[in-house]
Amino acid sequence: MNNSSEEIDQGRRGFLGAAAGVASMTLAPGVLLHTIASADPRSERVTDAVRYGMLIDTTRCAEGCTACVTACNQENGLDLQQMPASMDPEKWDRQEARWIRKIKLEDNLTGRVTNLPMMCQHCEHPPCVDVCPTGASFKRSDGIVLVDRHLCIGCRYCMMACPYKARSFIHAEVEEKLTLAPRGKGCVESCNLCVHRRDNGETSTACADACAAQGHHAIIFGDLKNPESTLSKALAAMPSRQIRENLALNTGVRYSGV
């Protein structure tokens, strides 16, 4: 089961044209039927007509609120991770996979305090992809940066290279996992902008939904290339910046108010 969902991702790699055919061959018959019967976005190739991204309005990000983190953990099965028995919880805290984290900052000069969530920034020029020896780290045509878990050899070079510390290595055996976010000992993973939702035609991410449900609306998800999207309009209306702008990575996640 895990395999099939990964094959789909592989098949949707924009630059792996041939793989698409192979992938649909290896899918379970039921899935294939489904694909033919309806115009499922899964059956369409990912194109670069869109580029997914986010705007984090830090002025709306509430202190002490971790709704986005909790939602991400549930959506992607991160909450199913189990600390190995006999392990020091403090060590586990540094080894447990995290896709998104809350950060609280104070400006040294002005003392202004800012809260924000930090996750994979889905760089246009991702250092993690550059350094990955096998090509397991890759960027889809729609700008989402992913790890192909069949190709990842667990060298962790991508983690060395990511300027946002956005990636996690799976240190221990994983008993329970979700089909949509399979994880296995010895591979690397990170925020994938809820790629399964993209491929089901849904229009938001778990974190953005959770933030909105709390009434904060600090996370706007959408298509950076579509000038009519809520995201593009918000970006046009308010000043925003990239974290570690000097690295010129052209991140897909932008922040305002930092």
Binding site: T66, V69, P84, M87, K91, W92, R94, Q95, E96, A97, R98, I100, R101, K102, I103, K104, L105, E106, D107, N108, L109, T114, M118, P127, V129, D130, V131, C132, P133, T134, G135, H150, L151, C152, I153, G154, C155, R156, Y157, M159, M160, A161, P163, Y164, K165, R167, S168, F169, I170, H171, A172, E173, K185, G186, C187, V188, I243, R244, L247, V258
Partner: protein, 408 residues
Amino acid sequence: MKRIVYREWRLSPQRYWALLAGLAAIAGIGGLAFWYMEHQGHWVTGMNNEVVWGMPHIFAVFLIVAASGALNIASIGTVFGKSTYQPLGRFSALLAVALLIGGLMVLVLDLGRPDRLIVAMTSYNFRSIFAWNVILYSGFVAIVVAYLVTMVDRGFRGYYKAAGTFAFVWRLLLTTGTGSIFGFIVARQAFDTAVLAPMFIVMSFLYGLAIFMLVLMFAFSQDQRPLGPFIIKRLKGLMGIFISAVLLFILIYFLTKLYGAQNYDLVSFYLVSGGRYTLAFWFGWVILGLLAPFGILFHPALGQDRRWIAGACGLVVLGGLASMYVIIIGGQAFPMALFPGKTLLESGFHDGVGGQIAAYAPSMPEFLLGLGGVAVALIITAVGVRALQFLPESLADKDVDPHAAVKA
């Protein structure tokens, strides 16, 4: 100069097998450590999502760097035509290949998915320096073996110089590649500088030479072959130059870093406030690993004593491991500057809140895996010199020193 005669290592069988058994035991323990970490997962190691490369990388990078340095002796003989070093060429090449294999083994066995090695060999991303290194490493082994053939087989003698020069250029590329693994990481302040590539080259000269001298002196003394003061003096002199060069590069590294105000914290972390990393830098690398051996080697009395010379080489090796610890672990432990000009008050994933450096405490299995790699390198060397004619019969002054015959 007389014609050099090469002979297999004629150690008594008991000693030889005892030595091999000892090394095999260490390698075996390393294998068990690997099996344990692989079976359990990396949670039993000290590595985590902040410090992602740990003790195995210290050993692996050290051995790989030393491998290319060990070939230096052969290169000096071939490329720069120094006939004194030519009798050592075969042994130098053997040691280089052995160290590289030992180092690569550690690297591969520390992968999260070592079972996918075949993926690493069949699926390349040519933008990755890592992928380039896979080619550089395997190429190194092939080229050095070819180079060895030109040294040993008269029929290929005509290619000796060409092969030696090619191997020399290749090993420079290789160490540049290894240094660049770190040098091209823009994300981390400690790494983001091109100086690391040449710095790794001079470190490779030094560490490779230290291991070379240690193994050479051991092999010769076990077999009671003459090793004259002339060659030792030459090697010592070379080591002095390399130690000075490493010191110079340390200085250049910090001066480069100090050029940007954003790196003041990093420099002070290494030099003053970094706790165990500062300690490892000053005492492990600079004092024990560079200044002390320099002092011993050029001390009028101690510098003449073989045991002290061997001790100095041992210190250089330990200092080399300390340097890897400082560079590799220290570079990761120092928090990334995600938000310059701001202070981190809280974070869901450490990130250096309150100036905290990332935690890493190496675990025993990691250390044992690293030692296993060293043992494998030494096994290859021991079997090689025992089975084939790698070592010259004599390195007495009259056999290697072009002037000794005249003087006598």
